[in-house]
Symmetry: C2
């Protein structure tokens, strides 16, 4: 196994960082690594906002599901889907792309581009000995956070990413077994037994590592139930996205 | 610069592969690398379909924007957003997650999870000397391709990924300059000049490398204009997704 695959397999989330800040050079290196990812039809339909203002970070940490560690150590990046620049360029080229960028597929393009870029940043950061944590909670507070970040039309924050020097790493968390995720030639809808077995593995994991009595599916389903984010459609429509 | 970052920065798409197939072991290693990525609230809301049947590959290559190389060398993976397994588990737990999984945010969760996993696979593959190409064209033919792959409700193909032994690599393509993608503390809407300058860079690039007269923005805007994928909303709704 090579070093890169080792880095990938050793990924864990980090939620406690030292006070050591990233240098400007590190930040640039991370963003450039992010930019090297593929993007859908080379649209580069994303932007990255680095939040360095301590007061702003505190506010975002609060609205992103009240996770104070976001504002503590580490550099806080917000990855955004972005076709605003395309809209600006289209105007200059006298071309009309409204039908596309108002469609739901463009929102997917932006979310995919932001995600591929972010995952590149994650691997680059971890290869440098840094720790990371994705902050999906940015979408819990997307309305307030968009105001704070001056998000214009045809941009939306997809998630945040904290990158910093780890004080403590989480343990490796077992994934759904390979056979549960991987299908051959056709989608196989009868994989519930694999997930059931995985629930036994995760039950042991949560008991031993976190002294909690729960399974993966209880956790995942519970989290889906409690976080419908039912404001998302109106929010996206308000920014021009996913209207049809 | 370490080896991993070097791999990340040297990423190019590969569209010509030798006939050498990946071994079962390589495929498993790639899927396991994909699974090591973070997933939103640890939902693991994705599945990967490996297409090995030559006839099926040919058909998909045709419907995915008529790209025959998909069916030639290399292993073809289809990355899907997937909350079907959550629906099955919720039923057993006697919990109702309809409000969440029918909402547009769940479609984003699935697309994000599939993307983070795929980008892990890309880096792992490239670190092993393999070449890759994302196939967003899978969404051009999503209706037909979903039939071919038996895609059930609450699953949708996000993109494909070909992984194989490269016969020929594309050249490194210049990205939007760092300052065009990266914002500090607030979204800066006045970055058009950077994109204009980048258009000059890409004009030279396309002239020199491909003997074509075009810029990045002409290419990107043209591709948005010609591919509105206006069937996407009905398709997604038909599979239960993004209804509200």
């Amino acid at each position: 196994m090579n070093k890169t695959i080792e880095t990938i397999l050793n990924h864990v989330s980090v939620r406690t960082f030292t006070d050591q800040a990233l240098t400007e050079n590190q930040v640039k290196q991370l963003v450039i690594a992010a930019q090297a990812a593929s993007t859908a039809s080379f649209q580069q339909a994303y932007s990255i906002i680095g939040v360095t203002d301590p007061e702003l970070k505190l506010k975002i940490a609060y609205f992103a599901g009240n996770q104070p560690f976001i504002a503590e150590g580490g550099h806080f990046f917000v990855f955004c889907a972005d076709v605003n620049r395309h809209k600006q360029m289209a105007k200059d080229l006298d071309m009309d792309i409204t039908e596309t960028i108002e469609g739901i597929d463009a929102a997917l393009v932006g979310a995919i581009d932001a995600s591929l870029a972010a995952q590149n940043m994650v691997i680059a950061a971890e290869s440098m000995g840094l720790g990371v944590c994705y902050i999906g909670g940015v979408r819990d507070g997307i309305i307030k956070i968009s105001e704070l970040l001056d998000i214009p039309e045809f941009v939306f924050p997809v998630f945040g990413l904290v990158v910093g020097y780890p004080k403590k790493r989480n343990e490796l968390k077992p994934r759904i077994p390979f056979e549960g995720i991987y299908h051959i030639n056709r989608y196989d809808i009868n994989k519930k037994d694999i997930v059931k077995k995985y629930d036994e593995t995760t039950k042991l994991y949560y008991e031993e590592i976190r002294s909690q009595s729960r399974t993966w599916s209880e956790t995942a389903i519970g989290s889906f139930k409690s976080l419908p984010r039912s404001f998302m459609k109106d929010y996206l429509n308000g920014k021009g996205w996913a209207k049809r």
